[in-house]
Amino acid sequence: MTVQIEARSITKSFGHTPALRGATISAGRGEILAIMGPSGSGKSTLLHCLAGILTPDGSEVWFAGHRLDSQNEAARSTVRRDTFGFVFQFGQLVPELTAQENVALPLLLSGIRRKQALQEAQQWFPRLELEGLENRRSGELSGGQAQRVALARGMVNRPEVLFADEPTGSLDSVSGEHVMNLLTAAAREHGTTVILVTHEARIAAYADREVIVRDGLVSSLTGAEAA
């Protein structure tokens, strides 16, 4: 499998507190990779470094054969906007916008005209079983609906990598399962690589492979490697 995104022995500290102490991880094109680990182990920091949101203190992050960490913020921002998608634990929808406008947001930020962006956004509503909710604002959506809107927003620009940080963490088990079924189906259909941070084994079981982060290091003896 072609490596799509990779971190090589990265380190990251916040003040004097080390979060990552030489973490190495890679995901193939179209692979769904779960990052597990206890609270405070560094798994979210690892996701943010992979996504170019945080710059590691040491070593390298590669995406599609190019160094990501050494690019300036503007260049990394372009990569994030055009080729990455994001889903977070609490959806983080913009409350003033409708669900459809929220989904269209990445397209609007990429410079696509409003009408076209809204049209493309609309196509995700039936796919994610959100028909009829296009004009609702986030306060008028259930947790599961809001998270599916967030998923649509994460997928609308057909990202090469979708970063999902505890995407079901705020949902009950049935709603969480619904989101994961839709997330994995959409990712597989588009060949999107998914980096999924979760502390729930049942959610990690949707991935092709999992790694565990402990004390800022990625455990090598997990998932398909050890199975």
Binding site: E200, A201, R202, A205, E210, I212, S219, L221, A227
Partner: protein
Amino acid sequence: MSVPLTLLGLLEREPSHGYDLKRDYDAYFGRGKPLPYGQVYATLSRLARDGMAIAGAAEPGEGPERKRYSITPVGISEVGSWLAEPAAPEPHLQTVLFAKVVLSLMLDRPAAGYLDKQRAAHLQRMRELTALKQEGNLVDIMLADHGLYHLEADLRWIDHTVARLDALRKLVQK
């Protein structure tokens, strides 16, 4: 799981032949472990002997015994009691996992490595069950969920144990 009471429960729906009971048992509860015909008929005979079912007259036809069985009021009462009674919670205190961890620590063998491998094996099984859920009907999904939640409980225990290995080592190496 009690095969006699489950068959008796299936019989409460309507009088049935052994064949019908086996078919429904295998569909809902067998899951890769179909009930042998011999066990079905032996069980039905015992239920009849114990007054919980009544066998009708033998019907003409090929194949194994063709009798239609009906449940009796005693059988209905037995099924009702069984369904209302909570199953004994099984704490699984002496599992193989636990024994392996403690022995590994006692013998100064790599308990963390074993737990990592066990974790990977559990997650592999969880992936298989999750994949089954994508294709299965609601009965398959519910059975897979039951397995998934139990495996998840084991995994939580594994994570908890990994975090406490040093303390446990000190205790068992005394």
